[in-house]
């Protein structure tokens, strides 16, 4: 029944990070075999939805140090500064590499790549392809990857387990979705590139496939997760759908206004309103602060009630049709399609929406996790350059820089390793048995996947939202334990093999429950407020106790255990975050 294949370096996930890593492996050592396993075709990956741009110093008036400072202060001094220094140095090269591979970056009249302002950035350094930057980057990477013969794709293979032997990760077990067959793919090194897990929450910009697969795979295999309490709300999501309206809308000059038409951000220590955008000020403040301001406006009764919760308005009308069509065509398309309104003449209703996980699988600056043979990159990983709050447009650059670094270091490691042993087969067979017993052949369960999923999402929104408290988090932790227990009684309607998408949904739910527990535990233990983690019961930042990364490991009984690791400070000692000055 079980199929086995082997490779040298295996990517789990075929989005931006996975494809960049695969190409890096191919270019580092052309003799290595490379496999990309993904539960979707690579061009379906969620990188496709990123809109605004990718940051990398590009102009003479800018410097690497300024990009580093914006990133570190934006992350409320939690980023590791050695990682940030590497990141800002390599980001422009990676973006230039994408240019050479054909990415259709917007251009200046003289033919140079254009850059735009972005939230929390003191200089214009965000490269963009209109407002479909992620789409163009992903398709450029995917199409470019097709020329590397060493890359074998396992499209629509769902990874269920990492194979670990002798303290070393040596491959994965995966379901071939088209047939339902279980397959073991052994490898000398594995790179997790599965992205984030926004679907843990009810209202998110994230695609259906964002279930924390790689985070849970690593966590279950013994790799620690890092800084999981830091969850980014993007301030401008469309109500009901959660579709993202890019920060570029504000970078191009859009205003955030409340029910009185007042640019309310001026009341939250973000600077004074000016007619045109001011960098690191007002609408170009960082996402955590803007999302928190929304909650305060709501509490003051100055938001607008709507059928899917309170909203404020994003006003682009003064930008004019020409600019909107040139710089923000996707924003217009999305508003027309999903809200039946035209931003050229009408206000866009928006509310904060779950967007990005600052946390992820703990890695060093080469993408290596503490577990030998296991690497991670992109949103699935936490290096960390984002700290307590990621700046917009840093993540697309991050997946390139650290995708490439993880690829190079995994290639070097794989080149020195012996081939995986046959006895991994026993583990793969055990996994096949587990999937059959717990899901495919099981009868008598009574819980529905959708019910548990909805309860988890509601729990997370209630206990781990923009503002959190100890008692809410305690309650959430208890509820998640209960849901884990109930998950054991899950019932599938579908017991067939080919494209059993209900089985994938069940496995995704199980990943999400594990990741959700890790988040709540980290949030509970961090009794301070920093960046996107705001504890109403501990409103101040506490550098004495918490200038530290949370590390969460999974105990044998499945419970999460939190410890701390120091933050690397190189040249920027902790200071107050100042915007609007």
């Amino acid at each position: 029944m079980l199929d086995i294949s082997s490779t040298d370096v295996l990517m789990v996930g075929g989005g931006g990070a996975g494809l960049r890593a695969a190409i890096a492996v191919a270019e580092t050592n052309p003799n290595l075999n490379i496999a990309v396993i993904s539960k979707v075709y690579p061009m379906r990956s969620h990188t496709v939805s990123a809109e605004g741009g990718a940051a990398g110093v590009a102009r003479a008036d800018d410097s690497l140090d300024e990009h580093a400072y914006d990133t570190i202060s934006g992350g409320d001094w939690l980023p590791d500064q050695d990682a940030v220094e590497v990141f800002v140095k390599e980001a422009p090269l990676e973006l230039m590499q994408l240019e050479h591979w054909g990415c259709p970056w917007n251009r200046e009249p003289d033919g140079r790549v254009a850059v735009r302002p972005f939230g929390g950035m003191k200089k214009e350094r965000t490269w963009f392809a209109a407002d479909k930057t992620g789409f163009h980057m992903l398709h450029t990477l995917f199409q470019t990857s097709l020329k590397y013969k060493a890359v074998t794709r396992f499209d629509e293979f769902f990874a269920t387990k990492l194979l670990v032997d002798d303290g070393r990760v040596q491959g994965v077990v995966a379901i071939e979705l088209s047939t339902g067959k279980i397959q073991a793919v052994t490898a000398k090194a594995v790179i997790l590139c599965t992205g984030g897990c926004g679907r843990i929450f009810p209202f998110t910009t994230n695609a259906a496939i964002k279930n924390g697969d790689g985070m849970a795979l690593g966590y279950r295999a013994g790799a620690p997760l890092k800084d999981m309490e830091f969850v980014q709300y993007h301030p401008t999501g469309l109500p009901f759908t959660g579709i993202l309206i890019t920060e570029a809308a504000r970078a191009e000059g859009g205003y955030m206004i409340n029910k009185d038409g007042y640019r309310y951000l001026q009341d939250y220590n973000l600077g004074k309103p000016e007619p045109t955008p001011v960098l690191r000020s007002m609408e170009l403040g960082p996402r955590d602060r803007l999302s928190q301001a929304f909650v305060k406006e709501f509490e003051k009764g100055r938001t607008i009630p709507g059928p899917y919760g309170a909203v404020v308005h994003l006003d682009l009308r003064h930008l004019g049709e020409k600019k909107i069509d040139a710089k923000l065509p996707f924003v217009r398309e999305l508003c027309q399609k999903y809200e039946n309104l035209d931003p050229v003449t009408e206000l866009i209703p928006v509310r904060p929406v779950i967007h990005y996980m600052m946390g992820g699988v703990h890695t060093d600056i080469n993408g290596a996790t503490p577990l030998q043979g296991l690497y991670a990159a992109g949103e699935a990983a936490c290096v960390s350059i984002n700290g307590a709050n990621r700046l917009g447009s840093n993540s697309l650059a991050e997946l390139l820089v650290f995708g490439a670094r993880a690829g190079r270091s995994a290639a070097a490691f794989a080149s020195s390793q012996p081939a995986p042993q046959r006895h991994l087969l026993a583990q793969a067979l055990d996994e096949e048995t587990r999937l059959e017993q717990e899901f495919l052949n099981k009868t008598g369960g009574r819980e529905r996947i959708a019910t548990i999923r909805e309860e988890m999402q509601k729990t997370m929104e209630e206990c781990a939202g923009i503002y959190r408290t100890g008692p809410q988090l305690e309650h959430g932790a208890g509820k998640l334990r209960e849901l884990q227990e109930r998950f054991r009684s899950i019932a599938l309607d579908d017991h067939t093999r080919p494209f059993n998408t209900e089985l994938s949904s069940a496995l995704e739910l199980s990943y999400m429950l594990d990741v959700a527990e890790s988040m709540v535990q980290c949030a509970l233990h961090r009794t301070e407020s920093r960046g996107a983690h705001q504890r109403s019961d501990f409103p101040a930042r506490d550098d004495r106790k918490f200038l530290a990364h949370s590390l969460v490991k999974r105990n044998a009984d499945g419970s999460p255990e939190v410890s701390y690791a120091p933050v690397t400070i190189t040249r920027w000692p902790p200071a107050e975050r100042v915007y609007g000055k």
Partner: protein
């Protein structure tokens, strides 16, 4: 407005069924709901075995193309209310083999995409340290439209030529080939033309333009194919007039 609508969904499980059959579900008719929301309602609340692909729900990942009342559509961008009072009939994309319920086999497209070499081809690559290849906004505009393809394959489902001649490279692959041909950074158009002229698929295209009509991203594959034919004809004539390096 009635509060329910009938959703007729094509069902097929290869282990069990000889051929697809329709199953009807009553689903809530809500003004915000797209066809995909109705399918998810069925999967979550009624029958977990219903299988279909979807991901971004914002019309950019290209996963959820299906036939809706016989037209190829992105179901995440097709509103239920447009079909009131119903029924809404949902089937897998035409012209592809069906694998399960609403899921079709698309590896043929992936193979064809690779064949047209959809990447920048250059005789010499300059080092990154020398910066970007300059490209003016006008030069960008010449290929930008073709670069917007999300690979949703609605155009293949609509294409009468692909339906009859599965060897035809097809609208999306040709549009993407043209995307690179028109890119000022690329020097690979001769290579791509050689590949494409090996099969006469593009000559079979009658320029009825069904592909362009159904494209949710306004890529205009039919326009790309017409450009291709023109270049192809010119090259063919040149090869007779100037057989020794007329290119």
């Amino acid at each position: 407005m009635p509060d329910k609508i009938a959703l007729e969904v094509a069902r097929y499980t290869p282990e069990r069924d000889k051929e697809p059959k329709f199953e009807t579900f009553e689903v809530p008719l809500r003004k915000e709901w797209v066809v995909l929301d109705a399918l998810n309602y069925v999967k979550d609340k009624v029958d977990g075995s219903l299988s279909f692909r979807w991901s971004c729900r914002m019309g950019v990942c290209g996963s959820c193309g299906m036939m809706v009342n016989d037209e190829p559509k992105l179901t995440c961008a097709t509103f239920l209310t447009d079909y009131a009072p119903g029924p809404v009939r949902v089937e897998p994309l035409k012209n592809f083999p069906v694998m399960r319920d609403l899921i079709v086999e698309i590896t043929d497209f992936l193979t064809k995409l690779s064949k047209v070499k959809p990447w920048i081809i250059r005789k010499e690559e300059k080092p990154l340290s020398e910066g970007e290849y300059l490209q003016t906004p006008d030069q960008l505009d010449t290929y930008k439209q073709f670069s917007m393809c999300i690979n949703c394959l609605l155009c293949y489902a609509a294409c009468p030529v692909y339906g009859l001649d599965p060897l035809f490279a097809g609208p999306a692959a040709l549009a993407l080939a043209q995307r690179y041909n028109m890119d000022s950074r690329d020097q690979g158009s001769d290579e791509r033309l050689d590949i494409l002229s090996q099969h006469d698929g593009i000559w079979g295209c009658t320029f009825v333009g069904e592909c362009t009509q159904v494209c949710p991203k306004h890529v205009d594959p039919a326009g790309a194919i017409q450009q291709y034919k023109l270049t192809g004809t010119q090259e063919w004539v040149k090869s007779f007039l100037m057989p020794f390096g007329g290119k």
